[in-house]
């Protein structure tokens, strides 16, 4: 019995960096997972992916100026993400193009710019750290940042909850009852996405930053009908993936960021197959009801 307990809790009891990593991931889960649910509902599941690349040039500039410093990289990343979101949004509205098209163009430009900037100065180690993150090297300031981002996200989210969802559900109705419709809330939401991605960027790296945002949200969709339960389940799945992922990375000596996201992926595949609206029940639904 102690062997099992040792396997499950030992790493966290023994090593402070494991505890920090777990707390960091749980904070990320609290903020990111509900955002992922809303992204999915607004048919913007790939938007997070695009934005996680868009923050790269800003992070790179921060890195070039201040080395591997958390505030510099974070501020740079937030600025770059917001600039790309605003430019793409403006291009969409000014020229009557589809939003995904504008975002594709601007994030690709940003990505190329970011990689170019890093490669002019950084070493291979720096590039690896930016691409894959360093959840095991999370220090006190980083933890504080993650906690602050999660709190701020939940607070703002609670405030704009009604108009944000009304805009996603029936934008034309919202425009008919409120001047300007949901545009303001849409942009506040995009800002939240950027801030959360920058926070995740630290822990999971730019390639994995969206992992904890989207995978739990997509998995939760297979279990829940209502929105609130969907968000709660998404947060739970994200936290569980973080815990199991860290265990996996410790025992199997794998990189931690990808392990966490892989476990999120496992949760998604399990939900896809066994979920309430998943494949197994789809194939073995039982005889139909009378009415």
């Amino acid at each position: 019995m102690t062997a099992v307990a040792d396997f499950l809790f030992g790493p966290f009891a023994e090593f402070a960096f494991m505890r920090r990593a777990l707390v960091a991931c749980c904070a990320l889960a609290l903020g990111s997972a509900p955002i992922g649910v809303v992204l999915m509902l607004r048919r913007m599941s790939l938007f997070g992916e695009a934005m996680s690349h868009a923050i790269l040039p800003g992070a790179a500039v921060g890195f070039l100026i201040a080395g591997f410093s958390l505030p510099a990289i974070s501020i740079g990343g937030v600025i770059a993400g917001l600039v790309v979101a605003l430019l793409a949004g403006a291009a969409t509205r000014a020229t009557d193009q589809r939003e995904d098209a504008s975002f594709a163009a601007f994030y690709l430009i940003a990505l190329a710019l970011g990689v170019t900037l890093i490669s002019t100065r950084g070493s291979a180690v720096d590039v690896m750290q930016i691409l894959f993150g360093s959840v095991l090297a999370v220090d006190d300031p980083a933890l504080l940042l993650l906690g602050a981002v999660a709190s701020l996200t939940l607070l703002i989210f609670a405030i704009i909850y009604r108009p944000l969802l009304a805009d996603g559900f029936d934008p034309e109705f919202l425009r008919s009852v409120q001047r300007g419709g949901g545009t303001l809330y849409h942009f506040i939401f995009l800002g939240l996405v950027v801030v959360n991605l920058v926070a995740a960027f630290q822990a999971l790296g730019s390639l994995m930053a969206v992992g904890l945002m989207m995978l739990p949200a997509l998995a939760a969709r297979y279990w829940c009908r209502s929105l609130v339960s969907g968000m709660l389940v998404a947060v739970l799945i994200a936290m569980l993936s973080a815990y199991c992922g860290l265990l996996l990375s410790y025992h199997a000596d794998l990189p931690s960021g990808p392990s966490v996201v892989l476990l999120g992926g496992a949760a998604y595949v399990l939900s896809l197959v066994f979920g309430r609206h998943g494949l197994v029940l789809l194939w073995h639904r039982g005889r139909h009801l009378e009415a």
């Binding site: 996603g168 029936d170 829940c224 009908r225 969907g230």
Partner: protein, 273 residues
């Protein structure tokens, strides 16, 4: 028609043109919707009916002329667009959908309260959807979804109600029930304007009509509007989009709605009685 200030509650169109990319979808239309009137907007596809409704709500800017709403504010106007604009797979219950009708009073942050919920329940039973409160919207049929949207309009409790093709793809029973609601609104002295295609239904239930074919063909009592000549005129509307269309110059149609070569009709019936 002389320029008179809009009577309280009326909506007056003065030589309204609404254009997409400078090509007019509604061209020099004038007339007034009297307070409490029940008006059908008729016309072929591409005649500018939906465009006109959106301009009245204020969602589309007018390129020329003006729409005078008098003291009517945005909250006094309820607009039900065509079915396509709403995401039916969204995880929202029927009751929540209907509660959105309180937006003009509760707004993005205000409380709705017990009375508000009661009003929504009452609206649901008025459209024949008692017991559907907690059902997810995605499980409703097209007809039931349209009933729920009518319940939302009921909750909006607006003085002016604009409906864009509200009876598309509905069966006879649903249409009959929803038409009864329209008559109830008319009896309550609300202004109701609906874009419709079924001439027989319009003849039976709508006192007034507007016949559009990008320009105004006729506006007035239904029997004066739905004449064979007007229908012929509407059919001759070119649905073409001439890339090289000439400029429509202001001197061709002075600010009164007389004199434009498109307006070959008697403008006495631009006044809804």
């Amino acid at each position: 028609m002389t320029r008179v200030a809009a009577v309280a509650g009326e909506i007056a169109l003065r030589d309204v043109t609404v254009a997409y990319d400078r090509h007019p979808a509604v061209h020099h239309v004038s007339g007034r919707f009297a307070p409490g009137s029940l008006t059908a907007i008729l016309g072929p596809n591409g005649a500018g009916k939906s465009t006109l409704l959106k301009a009245i709500v204020g969602q589309l800017p007018v390129s020329a002329g003006s729409i005078e709403r008098g003291p009517l504010r945005q909250r006094d106007i309820a607009f039900l667009p065509q079915q396509s604009s709403l995401d039916r797979s969204f995880p929202i219950s029927v009751l929540e959908l209907v509660l959105l009708g309180h937006w003009q009073r509760a707004g993005a942050f205000g409380r709705i309260g017990k009375q508000g919920v009661e009003a929504a329940r009452a609206a649901l039973s008025a459209v024949g959807l008692e017991g559907f409160e907690q059902r997810p919207l995605g499980t409703l049929s097209i007809g039931q979804a349209q009933r729920a949207l009518f319940a939302r309009v009921l909750v909006q409790d607006a003085r002016v109600i604009l409906l864009d093709e509200p009876f598309n793809a509905l069966d006879a029973r649903t249409i009959a029930d929803l038409l009864a609601l329209l008559r109830r609104w008319h009896a309550e002295k609300r202004t109701v304007i609906a874009v419709l295609h079924d001439f027989e239904m319009v003849r039976q239930h709508f006192p007034d009509a507007v016949y559009l074919a990008r320009r105004l063909i006729a506006w007035g009592k239904i029997d004066d509007v739905l004449t064979p000549e007007n229908q012929l005129a509407a059919r001759q509307m070119a649905e073409s989009w001439d890339e090289d269309a000439a400029l429509c110059l202001p001197h061709e149609h002075p600010s009164s709605d007389h004199g434009h070569h498109h307006h070959g009709h008697d403008h006495d019936h631009t006044h809804a009685a």
